[in-house]
């Protein structure tokens, strides 16, 4: 579904990502774990086109998309839930969801999709007229995910969905991520909370200062001594 070949990304004169390669196959949950500043968010931004790689290529659904605009990638079936949710705080919950379906035309299908999102996140339904900026952190995360689902993505990029949430909410969010995956959406998950991420992912890559230093099945990484020491505490 997604193949990253030797990408290098610079931030000004600093090379933030060095020769990173990895794959995400159809139906998988793949997680990129690593400490703060390892380059996880930079990689996601490069995949969704908000940043450009200096070299290397990104292949999505058998097409090279290294220089494709973000709005075109969305049409191709890639949705990105950015770090810090980035909901439109001055707009209502409903308007946020409608914007998620911006590229879709069929009004009836959009309506159906909205009710599906409300089924998955009942709390959003209660607050649909409220401005998104007045929601709690957890509700904003649900809205950001619901909004991304409105485009019916084949591949969902999730950036730190657990950030700043209470442990019980983190569990809830991760259960939902698994459910989304079981309904056929492939997921690339970036997390600092390595334990949670590894417990739902199929495969994982460990990122350290812009390089991939380890990869493997999530279960085996969960038992790996080095990973335990560095990320699982």
């Amino acid at each position: 579904m997604l193949t990253i070949n030797n990408i290098n990304v610079n931030y000004g004169s600093i090379r933030a990502i060095k020769d990173v390669s990895f794959q995400v196959h159809q139906g998988e949950i793949v997680t990129l774990i690593g400490a703060n500043g390892a380059g996880k968010t930079t990689i996601l931004h490069t995949i969704s086109g908000l940043l450009r790689a200096q070299s290397g290529e990104i292949i999505f659904k058998d097409q090279t998309v290294s220089s494709t605009e973000p709005h075109q990638l969305l049409k191709m079936g890639m949705a990105h839930v950015p770090e810090g949710r980035r909901v439109f705080s001055q707009m209502s919950v409903l308007e946020n969801l409608e914007l998620g379906a911006y590229t879709r035309k069929n009004k009836k299908e959009i309506e159906e999709n909205i009710s599906k999102v409300f089924e998955r996140f009942p709390r959003l339904k209660e607050r649909k007229k409220q401005l998104a900026g007045t929601l709690s952190g957890g509700e904003q995360q649900m809205l950001a995910m619901g909004r991304a689902l409105m485009s019916k993505p084949k591949l969902l990029l999730l950036d730190e969905p657990s950030m700043g949430l209470a442990p019980i909410l983190v569990k809830e969010i991760f259960n939902i991520i698994q459910e989304i995956n079981q309904t056929g959406t492939t997921i690339l998950l970036v997390e600092q909370n390595a334990h949670m991420a590894l417990s739902i992912a199929h495969r994982a890559y460990v990122l350290e200062t812009g390089k991939i230093v380890m990869e493997g099945k999530a279960e085996s990484l969960l038992g790996n001594e080095q990973v335990k020491k560095a990320y699982l505490g």
Partner: protein, 291 residues
């Protein structure tokens, strides 16, 4: 003259300021640029109307429509040529470019039409409406109805239509808007088109109220409309409307009761006061982000 009469005069010119201020505030809202060429778009609108009125003698409705289309295209072109290449440059570069575009337009029209004022060839030959001691000219009535009508339509457009929502999304968070599949370049173009069209209408209405046109005519009203936008809270559309009407009323009242010479100074003084007390403008709010 009575207080009410001054108030009506103030509303008349204020509604024109409001139309022009909306262009400033929409562009600022979406790309954080003070488009100093916006006052000259108003002049462009006035000259477009002048040309179509004198050479083709078209009815005023058609003239207005042509002006709207012409100014919208001009606005989009200016954005594409002058501002788009600077999208990722420091903001001061774009600001200086805007001043450059302003000079370029003024000088282009100096070459084309010369520096002398031309009488604007449109009059309404109906006697003013008398309500008791009040005299309301038809120009005032038409200006008010037209500008309020346009503002209501704009409000509906921004709140309810898909493109309007996209514009709000881009102005709040450009990256997140892109991730929704919104083409931000197109959205910015549309914003310039609408803002410039409003400026053009403002120019026509201004020329009917003060029927002398020349290449520098956009400078002062443009500056006042900019102040109106800041006064109401730049980037906030109801703020621009409120600011515009307030500017018009204050200006008219100072002219009527204090001094014609001092009216501009007093208007600018009020801006300084408001900014000292509330730097974000009357309707501006400090948006705090939730983490």
């Amino acid at each position: 003259m009575t207080f009410l009469q001054q108030l009506i005069n103030g509303l008349h010119v204020g509604s024109i300021y409001a139309l022009i201020a909306l262009g400033y505030t929409m562009v600022y809202g979406i790309i954080k640029l003070i488009n100093f060429a916006h006052g000259d778009i108003m002049m462009l609108g006035a000259f477009t109307a002048f040309m179509t009125l004198t050479t083709f003698q078209l009815p005023i409705g058609v003239v207005l429509l042509i002006t709207i289309i012409f100014c919208a295209i001009a606005g989009m072109l200016i954005e594409r040529i002058a501002y788009k290449p600077l999208r990722n440059a420091p903001r001061i570069s774009a600001l200086i470019t805007a001043i450059g575009v302003s000079f370029a337009l003024e000088n282009l029209f100096l070459i084309l039409f010369g520096a002398s004022s031309k009488p604007f060839p449109y009059h309404i030959n109906l006697p003013p409406l008398s309500i008791g001691p009040l005299q309301i000219t038809w120009i005032t009535i038409i200006t008010l109805l037209l500008s309020v009508g346009i503002m209501l339509m704009l409000d509906f457009f921004i709140k309810k239509t898909k493109i309007g929502k996209a514009m709000r999304a881009v102005s709040e968070d450009e990256d997140a808007a892109q991730l929704m599949g919104i083409n931000t370049s197109t959205t910015i173009s549309i914003t310039f088109a609408i803002g410039s069209a409003l400026g053009g209408v403002g120019g026509v209405l201004y020329s009917i109220a003060y029927p002398q046109i020349q290449p520098y005519m956009g400078v002062m009203p443009g500056l006042k409309a900019f102040i109106a936008a800041v006064l109401g809270g730049i980037g906030i559309m109801p703020g621009a409307m409120l600011g515009g009407f307030l500017m018009g009323i204050i200006e008219s009242l100072t002219k009527g009761y204090i001094s014609t010479l001092w009216s501009d100074a007093i208007v600018f003084g009020i801006l300084i006061l408001v900014l000292l007390i509330k730097p974000t403008g009357i309707l501006g709010k400090n948006i705090r982000e939730k983490v």
